[in-house]
């Protein structure tokens, strides 16, 4: 257990120390949110209606692009070989690394979402449900991105390939994430069902994705 | 005494944000300054001086044919070592013409000062 905690602590520390990787993800999220209204026009009530969609798409892309680094650095400097020879099975190593990515990058993204919601004139009332939905959805973002990152280890131009592989996996997270913010069907607790499905998606990906990632890593280490 | 009208909270919030931002800038810079000075002191204590006069002995014997004119200071960046010393070593063409006269006299004063400064310990080979 101590090895898993050591790995988790190391990865989170590394994400914050290595050249502001987290800052770049936050910056990218901000850039995506800023240019969208420049494309759609400054009409506030239009922006207000589509704000959840833009915020979620921005979050997914930001999480995805920073996920390329989950395994890449360790693969390039040989650390992954040694991690594979540690006391932890490779799937646990992959799971811990994706968890570290969620803690180091996912949560900061969720924390600045309300600030960006301000830019898009999202009604203040739905900010809490936005944050709750994002908190429930971002683990899935990190773990599914982990699969893409492990599949594209050592490949050239892995960033674009990673996006191509993983975005289809994000469709359910996106759909239920947005519907957990803007209730399509009116009703007292109409936000609840999509939110629970989002939690289910995240929990499932936290369990199953590391298995796929481990297999892909072992394949890349051959 | 000071009636800021109905939107007083916005005015105070604005000034508050500005004050906090400036305070953060000042505090981070001072903290960074202190850590760098602490690291410098720690390195000085370990006997690593900035103008360590004795170039590494091994380098001299191994490469006798290197051109004596300009060996790049170890950091490669003039900023690392004291440029007065670096500009003195740098060939004239490289140095900015306007700076030449001033830094040469400075370099002469500097080398004079160095001669009087205590010799640093020879690295134990």
């Amino acid at each position: 257990m101590n090895a898993a905690l050591a790995l988790l602590a190391r990865d989170v520390k590394l994400a914050w120390r290595e050249g502001g990787a987290v800052g770049v993800a936050l910056g990218f999220y901000l850039v995506v949110i800023v240019i969208t209204p420049l494309g759609l026009g400054p009409d506030l009530n239009l922006l207000g209606r589509i704000a959840p969609g833009i915020l979620w798409v921005g979050l997914l892309l930001a999480g995805l692009l920073s996920a390329g680094r989950i395994f890449d650095n360790d693969y390039e400097d040989g650390t992954l070989d040694v991690l594979a020879a540690g006391p932890l099975p490779l799937s646990v190593v992959a799971g811990v690394k994706c968890l570290a990515h969620w803690l180091a990058t996912g949560i900061p993204l969720v924390l600045i979402a309300p600030l960006l919601a301000l830019l898009l004139n999202l009604p203040m009332g739905s900010v809490p449900s936005l944050m709750l939905a994002m908190l429930a959805g971002t683990p899935a973002v990190s773990f599914l991105a982990g699969i893409g990152a492990s599949l594209t280890l050592g490949l050239r131009r892995s960033g674009l390939l990673l996006a191509l592989l993983v975005v289809p996996l994000y469709v359910p997270v996106l759909i239920f994430g947005v519907s957990a913010v803007t209730p399509y069907v009116t009703g007292p607790n109409s936000l609840w069902p999509p939110f629970l499905i989002l939690c289910a998606l995240s929990l499932a990906s936290m369990v199953l994705a590391p298995l796929a990632s481990a297999a892909a890593i072992r394949n890349a280490l051959r | 005494m000071l009636d800021l009208g109905p939107h007083a909270s916005f005015i105070l919030a604005a000034y508050g944000v500005t004050a906090i931002a400036v305070a953060v800038l000042v505090v981070t810079t001072l903290a960074d300054d202190r850590t760098q000075r602490r690291k410098l002191a720690d390195l000085e204590r370990r006997g690593i001086r900035r103008r360590s006069a004795t170039p590494p002995k091994a380098a001299k014997t191994v490469t006798p044919k290197t051109t004596p004119s300009m060996t790049a200071p170890p950091g490669g960046e003039t900023i690392e070592t004291d440029p007065a010393e670096a500009t003195a070593k740098k060939p004239a063409s490289k140095r900015k013409p306007a700076a030449k006269t001033a830094t040469k006299t400075a370099a002469k004063r500097k080398t004079a000062a160095k001669a009087k400064a205590p010799r640093t310990r020879k690295p134990r080979s």
Partner: protein, 245 residues
Amino acid sequence: MISLANPTRFLGLVDKVLPWLSALVVILLGTGLYLSFFVAPPDYQQGETVRIMFIHVPAAWLAMFGYTVIAIAALGTLIWRHPLADVAAKTAAPIGATFTFVALVTGSLWGKPMWGTYWVWDARLTSMLVLFLLYLGLIALWQSIDELGRAGRAAAILALVGAINIPIIKFSVDWWNTLHQPASVFRTGGPTIDPALLTPLFVMAAGFTALFVLLHLMAMRAEILRRRVRALQQTQVERAALAEA
């Protein structure tokens, strides 16, 4: 200016100037605050909230001033190869970004009583936001390149490219804004300001600029010391390697 090329002398200069400069900043900001709160009359239209202008406009001015400092430093790095230029550029970026952020927040707080929402895609605020992104780009670039020389040159090129694009961005955002909305009703700045408001504004602007220079000098001093630490660590590594040979 010649002696500034030498970091040791620059540090000596900074240590001498800092106390005077901080005294100047305190005096200027003190009088500025006093003027803006007690002397300046409330605006006939906006009432008291116009006092936010006394920090919003200087902050916006510093956002531009900061970027021009970086652009000049970029020229210093690329053309005149001034050893302190990249130090100046690297340390000015976070300060400029902070004042841009302050300008954005104070602008939004100022707009709330008027527009009813915190953010309106007004031409000036939007270009300020894009300027903020340019700053973030510079800071991120500085952090992601380890080797000092290369980072300095890369950031300088980005700064110059940004500087050339700012007017273009400003023009296109203005056009974009008028395209979608009639000229925004919210008008400040420009000659229509009541002269009684001008004096505190200038005093505050002077105070803010002095503050910028103060913060910038302090940050440059810290950066020079950090580079010395790095160089000494390198010599320590070489010495350790030699000690065993």
